[in-house]
Subunit: 179 residues, 2 copies
């Protein structure tokens, strides 16, 4: 199954390498465009194999799809799974999930099920909460829990650029869709 | 968006009332049939409005959809949201989510985003782990966290009946699809 992405996604320039900064710049470009086009919340995600292939992309589509689970990370996992035809996204190569903001409780729970072995994050949890979003209840030591599962976490990659997108959403009065 | 359910779902007798036991019996019938038909893991879910309408149903479809996020609860939330055309499942009436087993970390994180104000559970977390499934890292006080959010939790409704389905899955050598 695929979650249909907004048509403008095809117009966003792909990363020129699969270095963390280049991929995250692409992810933040997606998040910014999601805000500018009014297609959803200020969040985006990409899953990239260790061989450099983009396996799946997601933007926040809660409002557009009228469904609370369509956070960027869940959309990217669904689309990458369709592309791979597998529930294990590391079935061929290892894979890294890039997200423009620290996962909420749901996405934090989902990511280990996907098989990715690395997570790269731009904005922090507190940057998301400060504009009014609810991140839910996460174990305070979730990064250690990930590490014990063999998932490494890198934070603060282009954090300020992601915060600028969060602020832009707040300035525009974007919907806080937590039920 | 709808997640297509197996065709046999239409053959399962609907609950005769919206009392907890009757709805849970229906949910466990769905979980058992999912095992018997080989369409997925031993888990099912239904979301029912306070007015007694079944808003959405889900069974575990990780293997069939080849995607790790399609736990029964997520499938039910997606289908109920399509039915309601809203990310808030309590937009008209309050709603209760019935699940045949205690939610994993992902589903625990997802449920508060759905707007349901009550969760009813059959099997416990430890009943799921004992057959080999990973439930992920949840805050140990997640039920208190739910209560503080205005979500009440009732456990152990037809627990033994749900455990019997879990055991049947294990006996058949059902796939443990955690990546």
């Amino acid at each position: 199954m695929t979650v249909a992405l907004p048509s403008w996604v095809a117009d966003i320039a792909l990363p020129t390498s699969h270095g963390d900064d280049d991929v995250m710049r692409y992810v933040i470009d997606l998040a910014r465009a999601n805000v500018e086009h009014g297609t959803g919340g200020p969040f985006a995600c990409a899953i990239v194999s260790d061989a450099g292939e983009i396996l799946g992309v997601g933007v926040n589509l809660v409002e557009q799809e009228r469904c609370c689970v369509f956070h960027a990370e869940v959309v990217a996992i669904i689309n990458a799974s369709e592309h791979m035809q597998s529930w294990d996204l590391s079935a061929e190569h290892g894979a890294t999930l890039y997200t423009s903001a620290e996962p909420c409780a749901m996405c934090m729970g989902a990511i280990p099920w996907s098989g990715v072995h690395r997570v790269v994050i731009a904005a922090r949890d507190e940057d998301v909460r400060v504009i009014g979003f609810d991140e839910g209840a996460k174990p305070s030591d979730w990064i250690s829990v990930y590490q014990r599962r063999g998932i490494s976490v890198r934070r603060d990659v282009l954090r300020e650029e992601s915060i600028a997108v969060l602020r832009e959403y707040a300035t525009r009065g974007g919907l806080l869709y937590n039920a």
